[in-house]
Amino acid sequence: MLRFFLHRLGLLIPTFIGVSIVTFAFIRLIPGDPILMLAGERGMSAERYAELRSLYGYDQPLIVQYFDYAWSALQGDLGTSIVTKRPVLEEFFTLFPATIELATVAIIIAVAVGIPLGVLAAVKRGSWLDQGLMGVALVGYSMPIFWWGLLLIILFSGILQWTPVSGRISLLYFFPPVTGFMLIDSLLSGQAGAFKSALSHLILPAIVLATIPLAVIARQTRSAMLEVLGEDYVRTARAKGMPPRRVIGLHALRNALIPVITTIGLQVGVLLAGAILTETIFSWPGIGKWMVDSVFKRDYAVVQGGLLLIAGIVMVVNLLVDVTYGLVNPRIRH
C-alpha cells in the first residue's frame, strides 16, 4: 500500500510540470496584452508601457519567463495578481472555501440522489421507472450547464422568487469567517435567518453543479448493480433468508460501490470544471469565477497559478480516491 502510494505520488511530478507548461502557454496564446488591459480609456504612453513590461518581466524571452515562474512556484510563490496586486496564493485561499462549499454540497447531492436512483433503476430494470430515470439522467448529462443554470434562475428566482440570483448570503448578515463555509459560519454566528439565507443562495448553484455528476453516478450505479445482482453471492445471501433490503442494500451495493467510488472521484475534476460556469452564472465568489475574470483581464499570474492549484487538487483527490478504492476493496487491500 505504501509503495503504491509513493509510486502514485512520484507520478504527480511530471504531471505537474506538464500542467505548468500548458497553462503558461495557453494564457499567452489568447490574443491580448495584460499591460494594455491595465490601461484606462485614455491608453498609456509608449515609455510607461515599456516600463511596465519590464517591471512584470514580459519583455523577457518566453523561456526565461517560464523558468522564472517555475522557479518561484517551486519555492511556493505563485506570483502576484497584476490587477489586485495581491499574491495569487492569498487570493486563492480567500476564494477557495466558497468553491469547496459549493462543490461539497453538489457532490453530496449527486451521491445522495444518484446512488439510490441507480439502485432503484437496477432493481426495477426494464420497467417504466427504470427507463424514465435513465432517460432523465441522459438529459441531465447532456444539458449545457449555463443553459440549465439560466433556466433554474428564471424559474426559481424570476417567476417563483424563491431564491436569490447571486452571491453567497444576503448582505444584511455579517459575521467573521471561521471555517469559510457559509453554511457553517452562518450557524456559528447565531444570527437568526443567516443559515436560511446562505442555504437559499447555495441551493440553486449546487443543484446545477450536481446535475452532471448525479447523472453519471446514477448510470454507473445502475450498471454496476445490474452486474452484481446476477452474482452467485447475491443468491447466497437470499438463500440465507436475508430480506431484500439487506441483500440489495448491503450484499449487492457494497460490491457495486467499488467501481462507483472511482467514478465519484473522477467527478471532482468535472465539478471544478463545472464550477467555472456555475460560479459565473450565479456570481458565486469562488475560484471558478476568479479564473474566468482573470482570463478576461489577462491576469497571467492568476490564471496559471490558479489552474496549477486546481490541477493539483484534482490530482491529490484522485490519489485519495485510489487509496479509498483499496480500502473498500478487500482484494486490493490484502
Binding site: E231, D232, Y233, R235, T236, A237, R238, A239, K240, G241, M242, P243, H251, R254, N255, I258, V328, N329, P330, R331, H334
Partner: protein
Amino acid sequence: MPLLDIENLSVTFATATGPFRAVDNVSLSCDGGDILSIVGESGSGKSVSMLALMGLLPFTATVTADRLEFDGRDLMAMKTRERRKLLGRDIAMIFQEPMSSLNPCFTVGFQIGESLRKHLGLGRAERKERTIELLSLVGIPSPETRLSQFPHQLSGGMSQRVMIAMALACNPKLLIADEPTTALDVTIQAQILDLLADLQKERGMALILITHDMGVVAETAQRVHVQYAGQRVEEQDVRPLFESPHHPYTAALLSALPERATKHGRLPAIPGKVPGADDRPNGCLFSPRCAFTTDLCRRSVERQGAEFGHALCNYPLEQGVPRGHPDPEHIGQAMAEMME
C-alpha cells in the same frame, strides 16, 4: 409424512423466443434424515427445480405445483416473508461455485454470523463462538484466524467448507447441495463429499445432493431421482437402481461410469444432447437419443408404476431388456451398439 413433498412441480421461463419449460411436472419427496440424489446431465433442470423450492428464481420464472410442502407446511400458500424465515434456518443450500458464492466484500465471520443473528438472534460474542465451532466442525484448521479473512484468501475447497459451515449455522432440517464438488479438484471432491455425508449422519438432517456423477451417487445416496430435460424419468433406491435401471437414460448414465466401462475398452458417451427450448421432440423427450425408440415413443410416453421405478418410458428395462418392445430383433442390434 415426508419432510419435503413435491408433486408436479413445473417451472416455465419467459424467454425472448417464448416460454421455456425447464422443469416439467417433477414429483419428489424426501424424508427427514434421508439422502436423496438428483442426477441428470447439464440442462436437465436440477438446479432450477431446487431454486424453485427455495423461491430463488428470477421474476421471469413461473412456478406451479400441485403440492410443495416442507415439514407439513404449504410453501406455495405461504407469504414471502414467512417463507424467507425458513431459508437459511430450516432449508439451506450450497452451490456449485464456492469461490463466487461467497461475498468478496465481507469476512468469513461476518457471512456466517449474519445467519446466526437473523435466525437465532445471537449476540456478538455468541456468534463468534458459534462460528468458530462451525468452522472447526467442517474441518477448517485454525478457525479463529479464518474469521477475519476474506473469501479471496481461501482456496476453492476451503470456500466450500465455509459455505457448508454457513449452511449448517442454524441446524437446517434439509440441506440442498447443488453439485458441491464440480468446481473442485478430484482429491478435494472426495473430502467434501465425505464431510457432507458425515455431517448428514451426525446431525440427522436430510440431504439433497445434486450431481451428474453416478459415482458420487453410488457412494452417498440412499434414493436416486433421475431427471432428464426437466422431467423425472426414474426414481429408485440406490442399490436396485444400480442393479437394474429401468429407464434407458439411467442405463446409459450407468454405463458411462468408468468402472463399468473398462471392460469394453472405452467410455461410452450418450449420443446427442439434452433438448433445449427449440428442439423439443413430441412424445418421449429422450426418444432422439434412445436405442429402443419406436413410433409410439415419438408420439407419446407413459409413466410406469413404482415396480419399474416410476420410469417415464414405454418399454422400461427389466434386467436390461426393454419390456414389451415390439421389435425384438432391433433390440439385439441396439444392445450390441450400446455395448460397443
